[in-house]
Amino acid sequence: MDFWPIGHGSSEHAFNFTQRLGLNFGCQTAYPPTCGNFCISGIALQSITDALGLAFALVLSGDGDLLEIVALSLRVSLTATVIACLIGLPVGALVAIGRFRGRNAVLIVMNALMGLPPVVVGLLVYLHLSRSGPLGFLGLLYTPSAMIIAQTILIAPIVAALSRQVLEDLHAEYAEQFRSLCLTRLQTIQALLWDARYSLLTVGLAGFGRAIAEVGAVIIVGGNIDHLTRVMTTAIALETSKGDLALALALGIILLIIALGVNAAVQSVRMTAARQAYV
């Protein structure tokens, strides 16, 4: 059985694929493909070590471009998180305490929307905001506002679905007492949102984590324009494909530090709250 041509063909295919993506790690000389694998891994390893050093230097030097990208990322994702919470928390609370027909269907849809693919959200927002789209007159495409809209759509269902679960559990504990006190629906929702505040912090964090880490939606509606709509994830994708691993890694390091820092902050707030039995 002659299987060699198949193997040869597929390795050639793999090489072309990496070339098309621009993931060549600066090893164009590696052609012909027979030595492709070796060259890619050898040079990549070398450049990753160099890049790591450069990345740390970039982070520590407080490079202006780098800071601009980080600041825009935080601005877009934090704004999207706040708006998503303003929408998602009341919706989650209403579904949590509501008893209405079709509630199960609503739960299924809410949970399903948690898994919205970012690129699909990006595409839908793009279609609405593009010149010929229904909201084209707003001129929002390729602006940070468009990115905030896309991320809000992406994470509002996460906030709604997770907060619904948290608030429903709490309501199970409080419901009878609240009925005895004759609370209105609005008073019930306010009390539940306040008493679940530390658990909802984690819900917000889940939303923020998704927003700051996603690339598909913001690259479609933002366009990754330098000094305008370039955020950490889109910059990492671009710099990696350009072969500028230093900047990509530097951004990656900052992204990880932000993720760790925010989680640590929320965790410590929760632990303080838990000591007071407020969780």
Binding site: E173, Y174, E176, Q177, S180, W194, Q276, A277
Partner: protein
């Protein structure tokens, strides 16, 4: 524990505007969960004043009777009338203290503030209420870190903050130490002396002797006996009550 001026029963003013809650008339009250009949054609009359103790073995339907009277659940059949009104119409004029107090995830003071706020009461009464139940020194502490007795006193203060005309207590002193039990009884007695109608579920025979005016004894979803406390303990009329008081198991 002082009887603060702020606790002067507002309900006297309120009931002047509302129709009277008492007497309570219950006729043929039945509660079923699927095939299980929990309360079976129960009838009961309670008059205006005092403290009625509801006793009976576990599962005899005492807590459910309280929730029905308070309008938290609805009967499968039968009627409940508070004066001329249904339970759900008068829930607002009553308060219920649960066996396990449900305290908000806030400070002691904020738990009182919450009730005063949602019921549109004077917020300055908080200090007097906390003083009344002996919790002034714990005002800023997290409510859910209180001991069992303190938590129950806070629950009572919260119930009193609504100025109830009827106060339901569902085994509020179960699992409390003797000092806490006496503290709770003192507060309940204080409320009674201000004209609050007390309906109290208990298993504690000594407690019933101390504070009850009359005893309603439930057995298998019916009222086996309803008699003044002076008659109930020396000469229980029903065999179920005799068995219960002598410690024989009744199911």
């Amino acid at each position: 524990m002082s009887d603060a001026a702020a606790l002067t029963p507002l309900h006297i003013r309120e009931s002047a505007q509302n129709s009277p809650l008492m007497p309570l008339v219950v006729r043929d009250l039945t509660l079923r969960f699927g095939e299980t009949t929990v309360l079976d054609g129960l009838s009961l009359d309670l008059d205006t004043r005092g403290c009625t103790m509801v006793m009976g073995a576990n599962g005899s339907g005492k807590s459910l009777l309280l929730k029905l009277l308070h309008g938290l659940i609805h009967p499968s059949a039968g009627q409940i009338h508070w004066g001329s009104q249904t339970p759900t119409a008068v829930t607002r004029r009553q308060a219920l203290v649960f066996q396990k107090p449900v305290l908000l995830r806030r400070s002691v003071a904020a738990n009182i503030d919450f009730v005063l706020k949602v019921r549109g009461k004077d917020r300055s009464r908080r200090a007097a209420l906390l003083e009344h139940v002996g919790l002034s020194h714990k005002a800023d502490q997290p409510a859910r870190l209180l001991s069992g007795g303190e938590a129950q006193r806070l629950a009572l203060a919260r119930a009193l903050a609504t100025d109830p005309e009827v106060l339901f207590l569902d085994e509020p002193t179960a699992s409390l130490d003797p000092a806490s039990v006496l503290a709770i009884e003192g507060i309940v007695n204080g409320a009674r002396s201000r004209g609050v109608r007390i309906i109290f579920v208990t298993h504690d025979v000594g407690q019933a002797r101390r504070i009850a005016d009359d005893i309603v004894f439930l057995h298998r979803g019916r009222i086996a006996e309803h008699s003044p406390v002076a008659d109930f303990f020396p000469t229980p009329q029903s065999s179920a009550a005799r068995d219960y008081l002598s410690g024989r198991i009744v199911v």
